[in-house]
Symmetry: C2
């Protein structure tokens, strides 16, 4: 498993001239780092007398972020798997009409999978951004810059996942289906932009005083 590598080895593997791990795994990892940082801010808030009144929100946010962190960590490896499936399909023989059709079908299935996984990453990153906004607004102000970093990371995870959806869309033969996925991704991107802007504003305000 990629996530069992140490950080140094992980970035070595990422830098190597092989396609996996690639941008899809890196995007899921960015989302996972965001969820982790958000959970840290919750923990640095809970148990502090000064923040007693926001305890229920912080507990809910910590629980949500903790689940999202696990989902996104799993997506780091899932993304590499789907890429390998696409690569396998591309290598299938295409000499006879039967082979061509079998290859086309394998490629269609792999491409669908290869869009579904980054869509999941993008959706999880949006859910992280929603929690981070709450954490930035109500969490420990000494750690508000960490909430800001988390928002940037989650936004990048989503933007990166969106690129990985789009690069696999041409492999999906059903045009209506691929248009639907494109619309879903655009909506996620627009929601993420708004949440990032709101969080940046909150973080800047709370850092000033």
């Amino acid at each position: 498993m990629l996530v069992d590598l140490d950080v140094k080895e992980f970035v070595d593997r990422l830098a190597a001239g092989v396609p996996t791990p690639g941008g899809g795994s890196a995007s899921a990892l960015a989302g996972c780092l965001a969820a982790s940082l958000g959970a840290m801010v919750c923990d640095l808030t809970l148990g502090k007398q000064k923040y007693e009144s926001v305890r229920p929100e912080m507990e809910r946010a910590r629980e949500a972020l903790s689940g999202l962190r696990k989902d996104l960590l799993a997506l780091v490896d899932r993304d590499a798997e789907v890429y390998d499936e696409v690569a396998r399909a591309l290598k299938l023989p295409r000499e006879t009409p039967e082979q061509k059709q079998a290859r086309q079908e394998a490629l269609g299935k792999a491409s669908q999978f290869a869009t579904e996984i980054p869509v999941k990453t993008a959706e999880s990153c949006l859910a992280v951004l929603e929690q981070i906004l709450i954490v930035a607004e109500k969490g420990n102000s000494n750690a508000v810059s960490d909430a800001g970093v988390a928002a940037h990371l989650a936004h990048t995870g989503l933007a990166g996942a969106a690129l990985n959806v789009r690069i696999n869309l041409p492999g999906i033969a059903d045009r209506a289906r691929s248009a639907q996925i494109e619309q879903r991704v655009e909506r996620l991107e627009s929601d993420a932009r708004q949440l990032l802007a709101g969080t940046k504003e909150t973080v800047a305000r709370r850092m000033q005083g």
Copy 2:
């Protein structure tokens, strides 16, 4: 060392309710992931007949990104060290005037260090963004989405490092010095925004055709 932890342990430590590793280390890691992905795209370009004409640029970019990757990996741990130094200074006794002055001096030194390290992270992330733009323009078009993910990650590393500079600025007593650092950070942010915008445009164009 933090970078000797496996990825799963690293995110566990990040999520834990202790301040380090925090947003500063996560920002340096984002920059390191960006440099790694950029180097991957260079490798997936070099040796391909179709891209023979861009070999010198790709070799230069790969070398630059490889150095930046190492710098940013080291900054993951350096950032945690400087935070610990600030925390130690804050805990110094402040009962006598002598103690107060010693604490103030220790805090000033630690704060200066705590701004210098994230400024270095931000500068390295900007250098990554400069290389990524070249890689996105001239590298293997099959991996152009990876260059796009890398640009988002490097931008996030810089934006996150900027937040970490700013949260430590109030600890610097010399107002002229801290204004100078603020100006430097604003310039880095504005350069990064432009490079990200240019790279996103290039990536979108090359993904379409």
